[in-house]
Amino acid sequence: MDFIATMRWGWRQLTSMRTALILLILLGVAAIPGSLFPQRSQNPQKVDQYFVSDPTLAHWMDRFKLFNVYASPWFSAIYLLLFISLIGCVLPRTIEHLKAIGKKPPLTPKNLDRMEGFRVVEQGGDVALLHAKIWFKKNHFRIRVDENSISAEKGYGRETGNLLFHLSLVLILVGVALGSLFGSKGEAIVNVGERFVNTPTSYDTLSFGKFQGQGSLVPFELKVTNFVAKYNAATSMPEDYTLTASVSKPIGSISKSAIIKVNKPLTYGNTKIYLQANGYSPVVSIRDKSGAVTFHGPVIFLPQDANLSSIGAIKVPDMNPQIGFIASFLPTAKSSKTRGVFSSYPEVLNPELVISVWQGNLGLDSGNPQSVYELNTSHMKKIGLHALNLGDTYNFAVGSITFEGWKSWVNLQIVDDPGKMYALFGAIFAILGLLISLFTRQRRIWVKVGSRVEIAGLAKNGIPGLSEELDDLQRKVEQG
């Protein structure tokens, strides 16, 4: 029995409004560290810097999930408790509120002179109650008429709005949970002219919710036909990105042309395709000493600054010994004495490819996964360095490289979130409920006839204007 009693006590504590409030404030406080420290989900490079500059501290911070605040057990614990507390707090109130729909207002209190705006009306007499009743009806009060008194109440909508608001918050939390349990999110870099088929292997990164299967991806195929980026000539700031694609859905059907912009994703049901980033892939041909082509094609480089100076790696495992290049691509190359060669504009106006040539073992068979954008030079030695203009060929000891051209690439982000409609409706109802509850006036007014006529009221939640209303009622009672 003690155990049950304790559980009951615990439940009552958890579902009390005070606990809900404390948990809400706690959630606000718990959100703070995530805005002060870099988060893995947003800025993994900055997190790595913490580990480089002070490993011990970073290790301890990691132990407390300070780089993963919003997925941490302690953050989840707070919002789950809040969720339960909210339901436990709001559901009984909703039931009570529904029960109260048909009910009459409570009895008129014995001593009205303790209430707000108490007044005694000299005239009126017997017809006072009749006049008061007419006034209450006109002003949409619910009334309870007793032998010599009327108890009237208004503002039932306030609690309705209040409950609607809190239930909507629960709906938002349900939407968030559905999205994270049944959704998926992935990114893929695609060169202009290439195809993307929506299967798990096409992605660079892809994560599924806990209850989401691999086969759940919407089947479609997308070919990037064109990509145009416009920049401000004076400031290099981007002004517009437009991606044109031809899409077949389902795979194999007749393709349709579609345009994706930064604020205009392509939508298939709950799945949306976003244009998230872009960059350049220089096109190179690599030949061995005999002149046979050992590598040809565009290589995706990663942009480093606003003028799209990009760096990347080209790996040629089919030569013996293996060859690799560390390269930077400058869309509009410019050189100065202080900065060396750099890019001065994000569009391709004067492209230059600066390469260093490495020979040795690329380490591709070591079993450790490698970044495609970086060259592991621990078992290689540098055998050449050169800057290539468009069309140039550089001959190094065991072969040659030709800088043939460039292509743009786009980073597609593909998100499936089945919970977001719930969150959206929750949000709309929350605002609606909030408006109703904050702007409904809640009042109780009593009229009592005895040896004299007494009027008093109660303004719940201290919304002003009660005395004006009582004045009006008094006038009505006095004058009929």
Binding site: L21, Q42, K185, N263, D417, N461
Partner: protein
């Protein structure tokens, strides 16, 4: 006028507004200081508004004139770039000054609030001054991520909420100050025009109750926009996080008042705390923060 002329015109209008608000500030300061008169032959002081009523009126007139000039400055700034003028922190700041004045003038038409003109003109000067000197950026096109109809909806709701939060904070601060003064005895003469503690308390509550749904809407509109621009309606970006913290703080304030019955000093401190989370978000996250809300420059 072409774009460059419009942008220059907008800048000149800001300088003109700075001048006008300076006059408003001194007029309000004069009104407060000179209405206190020593009674001859005794130590006591009385309020005499016969000489300063005119100063107060000049102050209000200058506030209205300044408000119109700032309106023109914000509008021409937007016209010069063919978009809503909310692309960077300079533009947020001049629009913020606009909403602060609008909130003050609107309240002035309903309640006797002229005493608030002194801090309002001071904060307007501070905001406009920092904007034109420190935060200034030339008028430009928006980066692609900002090109959305939601910019107008989300940012206007956030800026209006911010203006009202700031006014509510000024009222709450005045409450605390007056309370300290009243503890020592009667209010000195210069403070007699300021409303009673009870009305100050009520006023800051009403401002917040009025604007809290709008702030909720601003956060939700931001989430809807984020969904179409970034692929996720909520990603705990620092700005989102602090918008949420502000929301929680004001929700706590409303609960504290309505259900727990907090009034007076505790409510005023909570109000000021909630307002400072908004200011922290605006200043810290814009200038030192990183994340998705940081665009070119500021």
């Amino acid at each position: 006028m072409n774009s460059i002329q419009l942008a220059t015109f907008s800048n000149h209008a800001i300088y003109a507004a700075l001048f006008v608000f300076t006059i408003a500030f001194f007029a309000h300061a004069f009104e407060v200081a000179w209405s206190v008169k020593n009674v001859e032959g005794s130590d006591s002081t009385v309020l005499d508004f016969s000489k300063t009523e005119r100063a107060g009126r000049i102050g209000t007139a200058m506030m209205i004139l300044g408000f119109f000039i700032v309106t023109i400055a914000v509008a021409t700034r937007g016209l010069s770039a063919h978009r809503v003028p909310w692309g960077n922190m300079y533009e947020f700041s001049i629009t913020g000054a606009f909403t602060l004045c609008a909130a003050y003038l609107f309240s002035l038409s309903k309640w006797k609030l002229r005493w608030l003109g002194l801090p309002v003109s001071f904060f307007t000067l501070l905001t406009l001054g920092t904007a034109i000197t420190v935060l200034y950026r030339p008028s430009e096109q928006l980066v692609p991520a900002l090109k959305s109809p939601w910019l107008a909806v989300h940012v206007s709701a956030a800026i209006i909420s911010g203006g009202v939060f700031l006014v509510a904070n000024l009222v709450a601060a005045t409450y605390l100050w007056m309370e300290v003064i009243e503890k020592k005895g009667e209010r000195p003469v210069w403070a007699k025009k300021i409303p009673s503690l009870e009305s100050l308390d009520q006023l800051s509550y009403r401002l917040i109750a009025f604007v809290f749904p709008l702030w909720t809407f601003a956060v939700i509109a931001g989430a809807i926009w984020a969904e179409s621009a970034w692929g996720k309606y909520w990603s705990w970006d620092p700005k989102e996080t602090w918008a949420f913290i502000t929301w929680v703080a004001y929700a706590a304030y409303l609960h504290a008042r309505v259900t727990v019955g907090w009034r007076g000093r505790r409510a005023a401190w909570l109000c000021i705390f909630a307002g400072s989370t908004f200011l922290f978000n605006y200043i810290y996250v814009n200038i030192w923060g990183t994340g998705l809300h940081t665009y070119s420059g500021l």
